[in-house]
């Protein structure tokens, strides 16, 4: 199980790996992403946390070039997105499984891998072993359980050893034991230099990230290591911390500063699945 990013390019990765500069995305009157500025150095795991409709998925789509920004810039590995050539170095696991139900496990994997020019059978088999589907190569995806489909979807996103990985709710429906393995693997990938951006709503998962970005109404409320965010909010609970930052931002909306340290924890919780 050694699925690291491609080692052949020894030149140092540009820093930061993922960057947003004044990024806006409007859908009519709705500001789905409303002025996001981030700069994420490589080799770490970043967690995007926020409730349903907070703009996490739209932010990921802007960063992968699947959506075009209304204003501002999205850069990955130093290249302005959208860039088709740059997509070869990016992996994206969508929230929907995005696999072909009629095709077998192996056909799905080899298809997506081939689009990246990855045809090394032994290496692809390793990707399947990692998600524990190596005995299911001939099974049509429609006969897999929800968790197995999620695992196949993950294998398809990892097969070409991307330097930057966007994972939108990667562990939904995956059983707890495998979830632990996934996170161990994410950390190995990060240790090998890959940058991971993981959206999640599960707080115990959030704790496994190197750094968290609290997102609400298209804004980044706060950014920092989980412990740092807890300390700033003055609570031992990440969920409470999120609520404090969320209400703090709402209170400061008409005022001057964002990302404050307000104290009234009564905003909607971040437990819903983003869409």
């Amino acid at each position: 199980m050694t699925i690291g990013p491609n080692p052949p390019a020894p030149e140092p990765l540009p820093s930061p790996a993922v960057e947003a500069l004044g990024l806006h995305k409007d859908f009519g009157p709705i500001h789905a992403v409303d002025g996001v500025d981030i700069a994420l150095p490589p080799g770490r795991i970043y967690g995007l946390l926020g409730p349903n409709g907070s703009g996490k998925t739209t932010l990921i789509r802007l960063l992968t070039g699947l959506a075009s920004a209304t204003r501002g810039r999205a850069r990955v590995l130093g290249v302005d997105m959208p860039s088709r050539a740059n997509l070869a170095r990016i992996g994206y696991m969508t929230q929907a499984d995005g696999i072909y139900p009629e095709l077998s496990v192996w056909e799905n994997l080899t298809f997506f891998a081939a689009l990246y020019g990855q045809t090394d059978r032994a290496d692809l088999l390793k990707s399947l072993e990692f998600v524990e589907l190596e005995t299911r190569t001939g099974t049509p995806a429609m006969q897999l359980s929800g968790g197995m489909r999620r695992r196949l979807s993950m294998a398809c996103a990892l097969a070409h050893h991307p330097a930057v990985l966007f994972l939108d709710e990667p562990t939904v429906g995956v059983d707890p034991a495998l979830r632990v393995q996934f996170w161990d693997h994410f950390h190995r990938l990060a240790a090998d230099g890959a940058t991971l951006v993981v959206s999640s709503h599960v707080m115990d998962e959030a704790d496994r990230c190197d750094e968290l970005l609290f997102i609400r109404d298209g804004h980044v409320l706060a950014q920092g290591a989980p412990d740092d965010l807890r300390a700033r909010a003055g609570t031992a609970n990440l969920e409470t911390a999120f609520l404090k930052f969320a209400t703090g931002w709402t209170a400061a909306d008409s005022g001057s500063s964002a990302a404050g340290t307000a104290t009234v924890p009564d905003a909607a919780g971040p437990e819903e699945t983003d869409r």
Binding site: G65, L66, A67, T94, Q95, L103, Y116, G117
Partner: protein
């Protein structure tokens, strides 16, 4: 353009289809079933008989003489049963209404060799069917009156430059059904496949890979073109071929295939339908942009498919269409496919014919336009 990525898309579509027996049946069995039904109806429909009566209301000798000659001429003609029992006009009309008669020849009270007005009376509920017996009766009537008047009628021999004058409806419809089915089924299947790609999240995933829109459209065209090719081969073989199966035990003898004669090279017919089908692939991709559900793809049938059937030369030649509709017909791909197929299969034209080349050229042009439209609508921004 990376051929490996195009090949990957192509292989994926082939693999997907292999696992989808219903779509395969739609592509290969449904057209054959419909064509077989059509062939059966068209080739067995002419064996009906018409009950014909002659009513002479004229008191003049010419009336009786013409009526006698006419009855003699009609009696025993194939497809005509003569009823000599009908005495007057009102009885004849009642018998028409009761469906005991199909056609009545009425010689009016003032009929004479000078006043030669004759009435042919039918019910009027089924104009096309009733008209089928009229020529034979008219011919017998003309010769009866001419003989009575002592005039010799010229003999008329019917001939055609292409095909033969006794060509059946099936012969002229065969090229049309071949082209139309290829278009219809390929459009439906591509439209729905691509819609699934859009709503199932796989298009989002595809667009997050380095694959280009042109590569997707090309891979789709090759994949569906592959199945369309097989479909056209099967349909053409069925329409052109005929396999007689002898009676075996309780199973009576029957034939598989329509055995329609083709004057030209079937390979050129094949080429025309293939280009038409490639256009249908891209049209399906393009229109899937405007659908959110599979039902909405089906809603395009009255907009996209039916007008092509009505205006493309399926039932009427383009030249007979109202002036306003003629330009519409001339931008429909099916129009050119049907014209080209008729040129090849009936007139025996080949690629040296400017008409066939024009049809083929226009079809290639239309396919190219649809491909460009399809590629343009596969946006990276899909949501």
């Amino acid at each position: 353009m990376n051929p490996l990525r195009v090949a990957a898309v192509f292989r994926r579509i082939v693999a997907q289809f292999r696992r989808d027996p219903r779509s395969l049946a739609l592509l290969y069995i449904a057209p054959l079933a419909i064509i077989a039904l059509l062939g059966w109806v068209l080739s067995s429909a002419q064996s009906t008989t018409s009950n014909v009566a002659v009513v002479n209301e004229s008191g003049l000798p010419a009336g009786a003489a013409v009526a006698t000659r006419l009855e003699a001429a009609l009696d025993g003609q194939p497809g005509i049963v003569l009823d000599r029992s009908v005495a007057d006009d009102s009885t004849a009309r009642q018998m028409l209404k009761d469906k005991r008669l199909d056609l009545v020849v009425v010689l009016p009270p003032d009929f004479s060799l000078q006043n030669r007005q004759i009435e042919l009376l039918t019910l009027g509920l089924n104009p096309a069917g009733e008209a089928s017996v009229v020529p034979a009766v008219q011919k017998a009537l003309l010769s009866s009156v001419a003989q009575e008047a002592g005039v010799a009628l010229p003999t008329i021999e019917r001939a055609t430059v292409y095909g033969s004058p006794d060509a059946t409806q099936l012969d002229s419809l065969a090229p049309v059904v071949v082209g139309f089915f290829a278009y219809f089924f390929v459009f439906i299947l591509t439209g729905i496949s691509f819609l699934r790609e859009r709503i199932g999240g796989t298009l989002e995933r595809l667009l997050a890979t380095p694959v280009s829109r042109a590569e997707i459209v090309l891979g789709y065209s090759l994949g569906f073109g592959f199945f369309a090719t097989l479909q056209v081969a099967v349909v053409l073989a069925f329409v052109l071929g005929r396999l007689e199966i002898p009676a075996l035990g309780p199973v009576p003898a029957f034939a598989i295939g329509l055995g329609v004669r083709t004057a030209g090279n079937p390979l050129i017919a094949y080429l025309l339908v293939l280009v038409l089908g490639l256009g249908a692939v891209s049209l399906g991709i393009f229109l899937s942009t405007f659908a959110r559900t599979e039902l909405q793809i089906l809603q395009f049938i009255p907009i996209v498919i039916v007008p092509q059937g009505l205006l493309g030369g399926f039932f009427w030649p383009i030249e007979q269409l109202p002036n306003l509709l003629q330009p519409v017909a001339r931008i429909l791909p099916v129009t050119y496919a049907i014209d080209g197929l008729r040129q090849v299969m009936i007139a025996g034209s080949d690629l040296s014919s400017p008409q066939v080349l024009l049809d083929l050229g226009v079809l290639i042009g239309i396919a190219a336009v649809f491909m460009a439209l399809a590629a343009a609508t596969i946006r990276r921004e899909v949501a």
